[in-house]
Amino acid sequence: MKFLFLLALPLAAQSFTPVDEAGYQKLVQSQKGSVVVIDFWATYCKPCRAEMPQLVKLEAKLHAKGMRVVTVSADEPEAMAAAKKFLAEAGAAALPAYVKRPKDDDKFIDAIDPKWQGALPALFIYDRGGKKVRSFIGETAIADIEAALQKLL
């Protein structure tokens, strides 16, 4: 029995919580009190994969000041095994991991940011009150992300 529990533990630690428009709002609200980076990524997105380990390092550096990183995978169901594998390899398995599963991607993207077409990577910063204060669409230097965060911490 104990053996079975140990087998299940790594899988549970890397599971993705499905999120739609309402779930995303709940996610943002649940992080109130922290400055949060919500990182939309996908296994097919090369710059997203390059950015992930940098975000992990940044989170470790700024964690004590109240900064958190949450990941949202935009992968299709067929890619979730690869997504789990990637997060583990990138050292990001401990970060809260969500996956987009709205009824309609179009409305989901628009609800998060009306100016966002759905391009990845996309990274949104929320202040401690849960208000979105910055959107970074496309590849962004990690120094620019840190500078935006430092103003809020």
Partner: protein
Amino acid sequence: VRTALAVLALSCAVAAHADDLSIGSPAPADFEVTAADGSHAAFASLKGPVTVVAFVSAKCPVANAYLQRMIDLYKDYSAKGVHFVFLNSNSNETAADLATVFPVYKDPNNRAADLFGAQTTPEFFVLDNVNAVRYHGAFDDSQNAARVRVHGLQSALDAVLSGRAVSPERTKAFGCSIHRVRHS
């Protein structure tokens, strides 16, 4: 030098782009593109009574997932008189990468992408005979062809060709960001 080029090639945040064109507004017309053979062409000379402007990439897996669908649409609607202007705005790609499939033009310094406010590959605009934007958005609503419910681009073309209102006029989908040059 490589580092300097990499820094130069870093994409800009969305704030550096033009806001996307609203439906019904005039499309940008005054810019040049470069063919795979290096020749230049005025965008205005490539347009037809109905024009699809498609921002594409040879390296983006999402754009590649749509390649066969784009080829099929290109063949079917070229026969109906629609002109297609495929643009590669990525600073790390050439026009020749996809040019054997359909004619692809290079968008130097992602000027067209900036003028149109395009962020993603693949991303599409449909222009009518008075150069008004009638559709902006995704090819359809699923990267997996088996799960498609809304054929946004094709529906828009059918509507414009038959003089009907386009619905939906504006769609969004996940894709790769356009790899822009940095404008200082």
